[in-house]
């Protein structure tokens, strides 16, 4: 046996080498994308939006569903445009699928006439039948628009008439801004829903509940679109999806991009993509440090107004010393609102000027110049703050304040720990109050618990949103602090929120906020609404149920020169559109104004 000649490389060693080599080569070959992968084209727009992939994500895109692919973001308007979109600067609607719309105050009806000659991606014509079916399905999903109407019907192929049960010109926004979906997909469900209600039953009945459950399980294979794009279903991955041109869709001849690629992800996931210039536009809430990085990379920051911001909420149930408006006014005088805004959002956090309870940008639209003159702007004046507090029995001794009841002024300022902007706001407010002489500490609370605490009143001071970025009518902005985070709505969660009594006395006399805020959004008479808005604004300014700090402007990166030629100048009227309501980028694309390079 020992005579058997030994080879330099044994058979075992050769097999090992061969196996190892093959595995190595296979691994190297493996590191390459598939040849079937969708390739980039020359005229692409790259956006970003978080979405779910199937089986969770689906194409039942009606408002009110969740986990729809694309469904809850601005890009849905490229697939299924609404009848009209609002121009926030001009304060008027621009027709998209609608040719005309009108309110008949005498007949209490609202009529929408759709354009003729438009077709769905399945070749069927877009008409009144589609809009009626959409609205019946929305009723099954308890859409708020149905709070204002009793029925909806088509009077011809293109005309839809809503009968108003609760007349309000607020309904106009629901009628015009709600996307229209295909009757071919939803007609059957609309018929069932109409039959349910015609039979005297509603969604709370066992039959209604069953129908609702079945509807939510509806999973169309695709979105039948009327807009310039449709979803390339095969392109959907956990990382991105692609919208491709739908040649017969509305504005297909105007949009200048052949494809829209949407990257999936929340702010942290999307940030590197923006930095690497893979994304042309994103609506995510980027913190100031990230925004600076974008700017350093030559990425333009678009700053559309959001018509809302952060305010200091005071729980009057726990801090009865602040029930006197002078104590709240003192806070408004002592806090440097511009500093809070700058720290929280950089140039996108602008100090609130009018303290009227709704966006400064809208104040001149709703209040006369004389009434605006009555609004106190609470310019930073620590001495005035100290005088106001002293006048109600507070005392400063040594470096700290004691309240009228002799207790030291010691407060926690709670904020959403995960929200970069609100964390910065809470900490800065706590620091400013401490510098003034209050013993104050910031308290980060996990976001889900924070929302619960705000309703239940488990806080002393807190940072929370004021204003409304979806509805132009100030009614919605007033409702946020006065109803939602106060006892009318907080009671649903077993708390009293800020616990601010809605019946108050002002310099102008007694006021019932509930009555006036409701009146601000009710009826068909805009002049009457303005009168109510003025009364609420003046009272809000005097009583400060919450202390508005800053108004948020978007910090949307807008990459120019890579795939998109340029965005309009910052003072262009379209750039005043609220990005989460009537997104300017979408409207620019539909108008053909946003050009590829």
């Amino acid at each position: 046996m020992s005579d058997i000649p030994r080879t330099v490389v044994s058979r075992r060693r050769a097999l090992e080498l061969f196996g190892g080599g093959t595995a190595g080569l296979a691994f190297l070959a493996a590191c390459s994308p598939s040849s079937k992968a969708t390739t980039s084209g020359s005229k692409e727009f790259h956006g970003a939006w978080p979405f779910q992939v199937p089986p969770k994500g689906h194409f039942n895109e009606l408002p009110g569903m969740v986990d729809m692919i694309v469904g809850d973001g601005p890009y849905l308007d490229l697939l299924v445009p609404p009848p009209a979109m609002y121009l926030w600067k001009e304060k008027k609607y621009q027709g998209i699928l609608a040719e005309s719309w009108s309110l008949d105050t005498a007949a209490k009806t609202y009529t929408v006439k759709l354009k003729s000659g438009l077709t769905w991606s399945d070749g069927k014509p877009v008409g009144s039948k589609d809009m009626v079916s959409t609205w019946w399905c929305l009723r099954l999903l308890r859409n708020v628009g149905w709070n204002y109407i009793s029925t909806v019907a088509a009077t011809d192929d293109q005309t839809v008439v809503f009968t108003l049960s609760n007349p309000s010109n607020v309904f106009e926004r629901y009628a015009l801004r709600t996307e229209i979906f295909s009757d071919a997909v939803y007609g059957e469900w609309a018929t069932k829903t109409k039959a349910l209600f015609d039979g005297g039953k509603d969604v709370d009945s066992p039959e209604g509940s069953q129908l609702n459950t079945e509807f939510q399980a509806l999973r169309p294979a695709d979105v039948t679109t009327s807009g310039p794009y449709k979803i390339d279903v095969g392109s959907i991955t956990n990382a991105q999806l692609t919208l491709v041109k739908s040649p017969t869709g509305y504005a297909a001849d105007k949009v200048d991009f052949d494809k829209v690629v949407l990257y999936n992800g929340e702010t942290p996931d999307v940030t590197p993509l923006v930095l690497a210039k893979n994304v042309d536009y994103a609506t995510h809430g980027f913190p100031p440090a990230t925004t600076k990085e974008f700017t350093a990379k030559g990425i333009r920051i678009l700053k559309p107004p959001v018509y809302s911001g952060a305010a200091l909420y005071l729980n009057l149930g726990k801090l009865p010393q602040f029930k006197d408006p002078k104590a709240r006014q003192a806070l408004a005088y002592l806090l440097k609102r511009d500093e809070v805004g700058q720290v929280s959002l950089g140039d996108s956090g602008k100090a609130v000027k009018y303290m009227a309870g709704f966006s400064d940008l809208q104040v001149p639209d709703w209040l006369s110049a004389a009434d605006i003159g009555k609004l106190s702007t609470y310019d930073n004046d620590p001495q005035k703050a100290a005088d106001l507090l002293t006048s109600i029995g507070w005392k400063k001794s040594g470096g700290g304040w004691t309240m009228a009841d002799g207790k030291p002024a010691t407060f926690d300022v709670s904020y959403h720990a995960e929200y970069a902007d609100y964390s910065a706001t809470g900490q800065n407010v706590a620091q400013q109050l401490a510098a003034f002489g209050f013993k104050t500490a910031g308290k980060g609370v996990t976001y889900a618990q924070m929302d619960v605490d705000l309703y239940k009143g488990n806080y002393q001071m807190a940072i929370q949103t004021w204003g409304s970025s979806k509805h132009p009518n100030p009614h919605f902005a007033f409702a946020q602090p006065l109803f939602t985070y106060n006892y009318p709505v907080a009671a649903n969660q077993g708390g009293r929120g800020i616990d601010f009594d809605l019946k108050q006395t002002t310099a102008a006399g007694t006021i019932d906020f509930k009555e006036l805020v409701d009146a601000a959004g009710a009826g068909l008479d805009e002049a009457a609404q303005k009168a109510s808005v003025t009364k609420v604004a003046l009272a809000f300014n005097e009583l400060l149920p919450v202390v508005p700090l800053y108004e948020r402007y978007g910090n949307n990166p807008g990459l120019e020169g890579t795939r998109v030629k340029e965005w309009p100048a910052d003072d262009d009227p379209i750039m005043f559109n609220a990005p989460y309501a009537d997104n300017f980028t979408i409207m620019l694309m539909l108008d053909g104004r946003l050009k590829s390079v």
Partner: protein, 359 residues
Amino acid sequence: MVAAPTAPEIRPARLRRITVQVYRTYAVRRLLKAALTVYLVATGTFFLVRLLPGNPVQVYINTQMSQYGVSYQDAASSAAGLFSFDPSRPVLEQYREYLTGVARGDFGQSLLAPGTSVLHIVFEYLPWTVFSVGLGVLISCTLGSLLGMLMAYRRGGVLDHILLFVGSLLHSIPNYLLALLVIVFLGVRLDILPFAEMRGAYSPGVTPEFSVDFVSDAMYHASLPITVYVLTTIGGWMLVMKASTVETLGEDYVTVARARGLRDRRIASAYVGRNAVLPLFPQLAITLGFVVGGSILVEQVFQYQGIGYLLLQSVQRRDYPVLQGILLIVTIAVVAANLVSDLLYSRLDPRVRVEGGAS
């Protein structure tokens, strides 16, 4: 003369004896323990997820309000039309319903995607994690063992010091942090990594199938998470293997092998390596058991369609059934794997079966 016992007197005693005998059977004991573990996890998970602040309805409403500026009225109305979940229902009633469903193999439906079963969702995500983390652990363990042995043989030398430093450094970096560093430095700063293209589990336009093209594509997309898993765990394997090898090198049988004049290569592979690697196996089993926990943030960073990504999303949105389903399915998988390995091990080493009772 002893009277014959009557039948009713015998049966309970015999039954008890049979029961004790059956219980003492190793396989049965292991099965019962596995079932008890699964039950305890199912119960614990059910109650723990409900202790999270906020319920799905509240989280939905607050997300709509805070992120999309939707009014409370609109959000609450949508939620009422959307959720079949009723937070006011007695928890024990929900618990009973949940356990009954689990016993039937029905893990329920997602609260946020009504009509979609939890099992369907979980099995869309789980294979990607098993693939990426499993491969990462295998590569890390193999490479780490080889490097650990090398360190032991060259202990005190330059190579040992360098590898020790690199291994300790990598071991101390959390995997999600390394994932972020990879993206920021290689993807953004140096622009040498097409990470936008590499996100996800496979490329857009590609259909999952058993083909070389698809496997190649999946490997391409998994390469970043796998690299991160390997780099952040290899240090541990290296250090354990080094310690084990050093200990083994001092054993008498190694000295004897050397005295017999065996070649170093043969001693390293047949005597040292085989014995030194033994302590690594329990650690490997434990590591595989934590597949989900270790992948959560890495999958989020790379937008990789794995079970960790799904788990994080479900926690954030309080999708109770999906959350419970993921945790329970992973528990069942780990318990089943342990059970199988115990049963197999008992066949290999009968002492395991005998210990504590008759087989």
